[in-house]
């Protein structure tokens, strides 16, 4: 295992610290959004601070839940459904 591989292996043990850093960065971004906004909002609502944070979170959650929990169960088949494999 080379240097980079060993480094990555060590980071697995620091999982909690990385997660805290992520939360910190996200909070800082929203805080910054209070002071920095778009010159010309594209949709109107995006003039409000936190709009894009909420947009990313809500669209992401809805997309995963709808596609994995509601759509996929209906359209999924066995891997060799068409007899190709």
């Amino acid at each position: 295992m080379n240097g980079l591989g060993a480094f990555l292996e060590r980071q697995r043990e620091l999982r909690g610290a990385w997660l805290k850093a992520l939360y910190g960065v996200l909070a800082a971004l929203v805080l910054l959004n209070l002071f920095v906004g778009p010159h010309e909002p594209h949709f109107g609502l995006d003039a409000y601070p936190g709009f894009w944070a909420l947009f990313g979170l809500v669209v992401g959650v809805l997309m995963v839940v709808i596609m994995k929990r509601m759509v996929q169960p209906v359209i999924v088949r066995r891997e060799d459904h068409y007899g190709d494999v």
Partner: protein, 594 residues
Amino acid sequence: METSSFIHPAIGFLALAAVLPFLRGQWWNWLLPAPAVLAVFAVFTMTPGDHLTLHWLGQTLLLGRVDKLSLVFAQVFAVMSVAGMLYAMHVKDRGQHIAAALYVSGGFGCVFAGDYLTLFVFWELMSIGSTFLVLLNRTRESVLAGFRYFLYHTAGGLLLLAGLLLRYKALGTWEFTAMAPSANAPLYEWLILAGFCVNAAVVPLHAWLPDAYPRGTVTGSVFMCAYTTKTAVYVLARGFAGWEILAAAGTVMAVYGVLYACIENNARRILSYHIVSQVGYMVAGIGVGTAMTLNGAVAHAYAHILYKGLLFMGTGCLLYAAGTAKLDKLGGLAARLPWVMVLYMVAALSISGMPVFNGFISKTMTITGAAEAHRTLVALGLEIAAVGTFISVGIKLPYFAFWGGKPTDNDRVLAPIPWNMYAGMSVLAVLCILQGVAPSILYAYLPFEVEHPYVPWSVWHVLQSLLLLGFSGLAFYLLRKVITPHEGLNLDVDIAYRAVGTGALRFVCRPLAFLDDRWTEAYRTGGLRGLMGIALGSVWFDRQAIDGVVDGSARTVRGIGGLGARTQNGSLQDYLGLAAFFALCVFGLVWYLG
């Protein structure tokens, strides 16, 4: 013939395809990047204007239309071919290299084609070359997918052919020019548009792409993901800018692709659905049709070729080393393939539009352009697609391939990855970052004049991207147990044409086979007896009179017949290859004599 300031970049690739079968030994793999380097040189030295006109059957064909639009596409095609050929250098199967070379030369031919006939010839050459890149994976799965791919593209090619023939009948010209958007456009324009849309994988004509690309060879899919759809984007940008239907179609593609990618398990199929999605950004930009969105479409095509090539290379490495690209079978590989992971992540962050990487400077241009043209729904759809892109390609794929909550997989035997694969990936990774940091490297080549040039690196753009991506990342983290990929096949619109195919096969197998049986029976009893009678007569005549004279020629005829019988072996691959070979011979002859 004016050639002083124009070398057609296809020449080198055609020459490579022509000589490769005759070279002995293994040294020829050093020859592979040569035509690509020549193509880069050609693109940077050619001067705008019309080059290489050809007179054939009373028609004037234009093989070298060089303007800003064709130049920027040719440039990225050339750069990509260098990386692609480097990445493929270790492959010993010459067939794959020949197919790739023909395919790439077809791409260059389309980009520089000034008339529909030339365009059509190279369009079909691409179709044949790419079919072989699927077939030559040599598994049952890929041979079947290759057949479907070829049938589908033949149908698309026929739409284009029908359109351009009707257009010639109506207008008396083959010239390939922009078509003005209008509600009551003539039928031929719709046919041509449909032909282009097949190759652009416009939903619902897209199913060939996620069907074939995951089944191509490791190195072949890298080429395919770059050229077919982007050639289609180029012809759409030239012919159909401002067509309203494309704005809607592109937005649908952008969202549709990410939704399917969200539930896919096969890494290369996730990327394939993301081609549909990313090409959606370009098609939408072309449909909106302002200078800014057209530039956005071109810039995104350029950036997309670089990072999508790199994404397919990264997943190709997984497939090459681990023997599978299915996420449920991978995991715990970060420490064992660290550089593959890092190079993959460069591409993954690029496609997601993360600042510093090139997707950031191209994707935001299209979205901002759409919003400034007051196309709120288009812009909204593209933002939704951006969230899905980061979740699927930016996090899900690498997370489940390299970590997946599993311990480091020390037991799995990994095939060592050759240096040239790393070299090909590094070229693209460096370019992705360079363009992201210094957008002018890309913007300098954009073809359309805008009043206020787009500036991606503003505090707000950076903050907006980070907010959007950061919180979609949080959504993934919260739902990582829900999004875990499982084995399975997700039905798509190909269910429709597979039903048609199965139906046709049943029709041939049952009623037609019955008729064939009866006919054989009738022939055996009636026809054969008559023939025997004639034959007996002929034998007598032959023995008495002609024997000595004809013996020689009979032997010749038998020889030719034998050759014919050998070529007609009933396998589509061989017919295809022969047809392409003869077409190229005729083409070369015309070129030489003209």
